[in-house]
Subunit: 455 residues, 2 copies
């Protein structure tokens, strides 16, 4: 009888073709005009679930973008694992920085380039091919699997909490394995025991009622860009420390053990600067780069705009200016409280000569951290050791998977982060890609961990 | 024999139709894709010069947008006046704030709405109709006229200085009357004895080489928007005083006489706020609103942009941010020196963790002021008194007509600012318009002043 590994080898080209098809759906969850495409990616996922042999497959409405579910629960006495992933993607602008069109997947040099290739379609598709391989060869899975995917991860899953709260029984499992995660090194595995949370808002400022002549009125009418610049500058010190009152109040101190484990992870300043293209290291004094990325909260201006931005000169005193702000949160910060603190700061520091409006984003996520002794972590760790030939590092990651804290808080399940993308794969930027070798590693890892958990 | 006044009355509708045609040419000088339209507006001007009876009409190349010239110099022994205006316009964005399309002129409620209607096509066209009226009725003009128009006023006339330097003889006159100016009140005339100058530049900042994931990298890579915000915030104090080192060094003190003349001009805080839509008065402490507008220099951010500005949320740590800055200058500030000071300030205050690039704009203008005893001012003052029935106010204006300082510095001619637009006519914003009554006032005023100067 052929094994699941044989099956994956035999179907390698076919699976790659399917992934290309999957990545060609522009399922951008943040832009209203792509809502139908998000649904289309969900439909694709649903059909692919059926084809793999999953049962009880269904697309469920959440009030926002849909979720897609399937399961195979015939392994009596064995643990039940919920696999999580998302089929929505980030937007693609600035489009002109892409080497090839973001939704026309291109394969070269052992990489598949497309928006969503690594975050998260490729990493989600890998375990699905393993389930198919096992069901088509052995006719069964070593453990019970619930496969759960969503379409609004990239906007912070605004309507998911209510849906999860209403569907706890459907989702209930012994643990979650999230296919939305990543590895730190090509040659050594890493287990990520925590994610940062997210809180976001937009600040809109208005000065004059319309754009006015900067010659006639300049000097006598407050410019909302200047006011915005002043306000934003009150939020962070030059060295990167957040100066919003109360911002750090709930930050849990880093344990000496975790600090020393993090220090074991190799770091090359030169490579980091090369990878990011930044001119110099930067961040809160007293913390290492990893600590700044993983265990310290941020306040980041994701976008700013106002006045005349085109080629040339337009000597206007603009009516409006806006900034989009998001924070990455760490235990035990809470998204709503952080948004309130920032709003209070804005109200307190906004100059009186302009009008300000704060719009809090529904996209929010609690930070997530799991206990180091969890059985899922142990199994994952052994598999990583088998695959890479070395003990995995234990780290956190700075990104956000809102569903982890959601599962922990609402369903009582901890999540093992088990994804195989690498940091340099431009997850939210132009020229996103996935290494085909990582995709294969992910297949092997999911197969082995399912067998390991059956023991 | 019918008078020029009769002629203008009789041809009122026809002239209005022509102005509509003139204003429907999208002659936006700042955008390269409209260069042909600027030229088209120049061509329209040239043909209209010929039709009016002007002689020696020609379009001249300047290396940028063209200039258009025509004259009538048969009034021996009488003064020669150069009339100045411009046929280019400001850009139109944000287009969605226009009630009717900017280049489809619409007339209602005694106003003609179009980009360029008041700034400067309407104000330029008025004296031209007077010249036509005089030549068609009396067959001659009371004085010698040189009519000079250009197509790059709205971008600071970058290639005009060299052209004027080479064509001093052609342009040489006893004085200039500029049709690019305005009145302060509908019911009382004003003579503006000075303009502010202009200096502009753009700041571009770069952090990471591309947009990167604010979760993975946030906190450990400098965000160019934060760096830009910090830098810009070092340039102005919260109360509007410019804090660029040396910025005020060359500012000439305001004389007690001029200060008291300015104080005579009525000012209503309520009307000013209604007109601008601003929430409150604002500006440099120790100065009146008029002084802030007319005799104090500014540093204004005309536009800012960076990162994600569309609908929704994109948690990106952006690669780039930029700001467009322009300064209005007063005697005796010099544009190049001010640009150098700002550049030095930027170099000194830019954080080391980002890369900065300063691009100085070629668009520049010296501030302009004329002596109160000038004979052109006296004639203009008498005409304004005739038209409005009261002595005109003596003021300055905060806008910039680069050509005034150019004529003064290169050809030794002073310029009387003799335009009839009003401040509320949205010169650089959406829904620009000209009052038809102002257009008629301009016609009468130019006719009378030509007669007055002949005495």
């Amino acid at each position: 009888m052929s094994t699941w590994q044989d099956y994956l080898k035999k179907n390698k080209e076919a699976h790659l073709e399917e992934l290309v098809e999957y990545c060609s759906i522009p399922s951008i969850s943040s832009l209203a005009e792509y809502a139908a495409d998000v649904r289309k990616a969900g439909q694709w996922t649903l059909e692919r679930f059926k084809k793999s042999g999953l049962e009880n497959t269904a697309m469920y409405e959440t009030g926002g973008h849909p979720v897609v579910y399937g399961d195979w629960i015939h392994a009596e006495g064995r643990p039940t694992v919920l696999i999580y992933g998302h089929f929505d993607t980030q937007p693609v602008d600035p489009l002109n920085l892409w080497t090839s069109p973001p939704f026309e997947p291109t394969i070269h040099d052992g990489r598949l380039y497309a928006r969503g290739a690594t975050d998260d379609k490729g990493n989600l598709f890998a375990p699905l091919t393993v389930i198919e391989a096992m069901l088509k060869t052995a006719g069964r899975l070593p453990i019970n699997i619930k496969f759960f995917t969503e379409g609004q991860e990239e906007i912070g899953s605004p309507t998911l909490p209510a849906w999860v709260a209403e569907n706890k029984e459907l989702l209930k499992a012994d643990m979650v394995f999230s296919a939305d995660g990543g590895q730190w090194f090509e040659d050594q595995g890493a287990l990520q025991i925590g994610f940062r949370g997210l809180a976001a808002l937009q600040v809109d400022m208005e000065g004059p009622a319309g754009d006015i002549h900067s010659g006639i009125y300049g000097g006598a009418v407050a410019n909302p860009i200047h006011a915005l610049v002043r306000l934003l500058d009150t939020m962070r010190s030059p060295d990167g420390r957040i100066t919003v009152e109360g911002f750090y109040d709930d930050v849990r101190a880093l344990s000496r053990e975790e600090k020393s484990r993090m220090a074991e992870v190799p770091f090359s300043e030169q490579e980091f600067l090369k990878e990011t293209g930044a001119a110099a290291l930067f961040g809160e004094p007293g913390y290492s780069t990893y600590e700044r990325q993983w265990v310290r909260p941020t306040l980041e201006i994701n976008g700013i705009g106002g006045g005349f931005q085109d080629e040339g000169l337009k000597t206007v005193l603009p009516s409006k200016a806006m900034a989009k702000i998001s924070c990455r949160l760490v235990p035990d910060q809470e998204p709503d409280k952080i948004k309130d603190l920032i709003e209070a700061h804005i109200k307190k520091h906004c100059p009186a000569e302009v009008r300000v409006r704060v719009t809090k984003s529904d996209s929010a996520a609690f930070p997530y951290i799991m206990e180091p002794g969890h059985p899922g972590l142990a199994a994952a760790g052994e598999v990583l050791k088998t695959i890479y030939g070395k003990e995995p590092y234990w780290t956190r990651t700075g990104g956000t998977v809102p569903v982890c804290s959601l599962f922990q808080r609402l369903v009582g399940m901890d999540t093992v982060l088990f994804g195989f993308g690498l940091d340099d794969e431009n997850q939210h930027g132009p020229d996103e890609f996935i290494r085909l070798a990582s995709f294969e590693k992910a297949q092997t890892a999911y197969g082995l961990v399912m067998e390991k958990l059956a023991e």
